[in-house]
Amino acid sequence: MADLAELSTGVQNRAETRAPTRSAVLADLRRLLPAVDDIHSTLPFGLPALDSHLPRGGLARGALHEVVPATEGTLPAAFGFVIAVLANLRPSGPLIFILPAYGRRDQGHLCRYVSGHGLSSLGLDPARVTLVETAHRKDSLWAVAEALHSGVPLAVAAAIDRLDLRTSQKLHLAANDSGRPLFLIRPAPPLEASAAATRWRVGVAEAARDRFGLIAHPRWHLQLERCRNGRPGEWKVEYDHVTHRFSLAAALADHALPRSPNARARKQAGGS
């Protein structure tokens, strides 16, 4: 009993001696309430299969995410996947794309290819986008850091051909400090090691068709190649640009009806 009394006075004494400063209280609250933080720091796909697979129920906001086309020909799909994720961002706000005007043919001239109407077709309002063209990799990295540091854009997307581990760590930290997601579109493999939180490999898949056999929604073959604190995974998703919604592609058998007249041609194509 005496021990207990002593203990309680001890607690009182401690409370009196340590006048809680504002920052200390905030730090305590942050430590106690990680869950609250998480809700605002992730970027869910709205697709349970993907979200439950990712460590915090979605893509981390203040982090570096790499998106890699599975082959060189799937660069549009990789870029489209980034656009779809960005179109999903809430609340709506300005976005910055930093694209190179140098380098190899497709990746290099991405900035000249991107079409505002195309963005609009994927459900992203082109008026939100500021396109930054850079003539050197150094400029790209500087612009990315600058955009993140300013805290203005809701997200930054950039295409960068080469990136060493240290630079990727710096970019990841910059994204982390700003709390903004940074999407890097990287050239087709092979790739160097990087500090990215996730790395997605995007391949093409046959588009979803409506009941008239018309192309309704794009489909992508997503491979979560690397995921910090998570497991890799593989999905085939389709994206509805009107409702900004990802969904898992239906079973392949559905294709049969509109495709049947072409079965022979497909065999030929596979053979050649």
């Binding site: 020909g73 799937t74 660069l75 549009p76 799909a77 870029f79 489209g80 996947f81 656009i83 779809a84 706000g93 300005p94 910055i96 991405l110 000249r112 290819y113 991107v114 079409s115 505002g116 109407h117 195309g118 963005l119 609009s120 077709s121 994927l122 459900g123 082109p126 008026a127 939100r128 500021t130 396109l131 930054v132 063209e133 850079t134 003539a135 400029d139 500087w142 612009a143 600058e146 955009a147 540091h149 805290g151 203005v152 093409v204 898949a205 046959e206 588009a207 068709r209 192309i215 794009p218 489909r219 073959h221 640009h241 009107v242 509109p258 495709r259 072409n262 497909r266 194509a269 596979g270």
Partner: protein, 537 residues
Amino acid sequence: MDPDRPFVLVVAASGGLHIAALNAAAQDHGLAVGETLADARAKAEGLQGDLQVRPLDAAADDAALRRVALWATRYTPTASPWSRDLWDEENGADGFFLDIEGAAHLFGGEDKLLADLAARLKDFGLPARLAVAATPGAAWALSHFHASPLFVLPSGDEASALADLPVDALRLQPDIRGSLRRLGFKTVGALLDKPRAPFAARFAAQLLRRVDQALGLCDEPLVPIVAPPVYHSLHYLLEPIMTQEAVIARTDRLMQTLANVLARDDAGARALRLCLYRVDGAVETVDIGLTLPTRNVAHVVRLFDLKLAALAATHDTGFGSGFGAEFGYEAIGLAITCAEPMPARQIEISSADLSDDALGPTNGDAAERYAALIDTLRGRLGTQGVRRFEPVESYIPERAEILTADGDEKASSEDLRAEDLHAEDLHAEEAAWPLADERSRPLLLLPQAEPTEVTALVPDGPPRRFSWRGVTYYIAGSQGPERIGAEWWRTPYGQTRPTRDYYLVEDFSGHRFWLYREGLYGRETTNARWYVHGLFA
């Protein structure tokens, strides 16, 4: 060429070559401006072989004068060189006016300013005659005809000071001067006390206008060499500075001065010019533009820093090695060349702003911060490096949008100040982005459609197979055509452009392309060509 020996510049005019300019040695031999070269040679027999003659290069003269006038903006922003097109040749294009009203006290008075200017010009090797007067006309007359090369005329004494000077002091055309002389008017004073009406009747309006201008009875506007800035601030340095850091530190202080003035006037800067006055008399200027009016010192200084770094990189000289390095800068001027109203706003104070002092542009609202970012990016990447998509009213895909660097004020406000946007709906009606479900457009549109080899079952049917960039794609499904006619109102009369039939095609692995066939089969062409125009995500 030896500057100590007689030297003349000649210009071809009626009656042969005339002397347009000469040096002191030539003057000692009795030569004068306006004589023909033949007369001069005859007059100064002794220097027959010694006289150095060169043709006059008017353009180089003007350029040199401009350079000196630009340098003289270190005294006052309004420097007005005497140009040949404003003045007739006889009056010369060999000097400039400085409007030192309100600037003289910075140098301790007009006498001191004049002495300083004379000393510096002498150091450049330019023997100059200087005069200060209340009117440009009187200053011109005194600088040319007063006995002393440095003279300050108290305001109000113009008439008495000019009275003894010859009529040449009035900047008149040669024929008017000639007839005045024939009529016996030797001095300006002789003209001043005569009735005006006979002069007005006999001479061109120029005579009386020049008299009035000299006496300050009518205005004489000066044409400044550079547009006078709205706000201006200048630092003279005791010791020349050479490094970029030092220049930036000075700029920071100049901008702080200007920011206070701007805040007083509820204005913000849209364009600024940094003038670096080199010790050797050259002036280097650095201009920056801003997306939104600003008074933010840190932001402006940062932009100048970026710009200087970019200049150093492109000139491949930099502060360390090349320009300005040998000499350094002796004065730095910061001018606001374009200012716009900017109402005072309550600065949002949040913990983020307080903790992040170094960032500078964080305080203020989102639009301002956005503009600050755009300015920063443009500081390094150029104005064309940062652009936005703008829709254009057209069905031709490559014409339906442009990337634009201007109109950012409107554009940047779109996402950030949505409620204000409705006031600007007029513009939005011209062209707007289609709704997402309206029509399908490829994410990547090739700037130039690329020809492709296509196999189709029927000439006007959908494609079955095509090859592009060395790869053959077998088409699993196609959708179309979407027919887009040429814009006849853009083609010259009598010509037609072929219609395009667009197909969205998908190959067996899932790559999606946008192809078009140019020309309607059977109507416009018998051999339609195919192009790849876009790539779908």
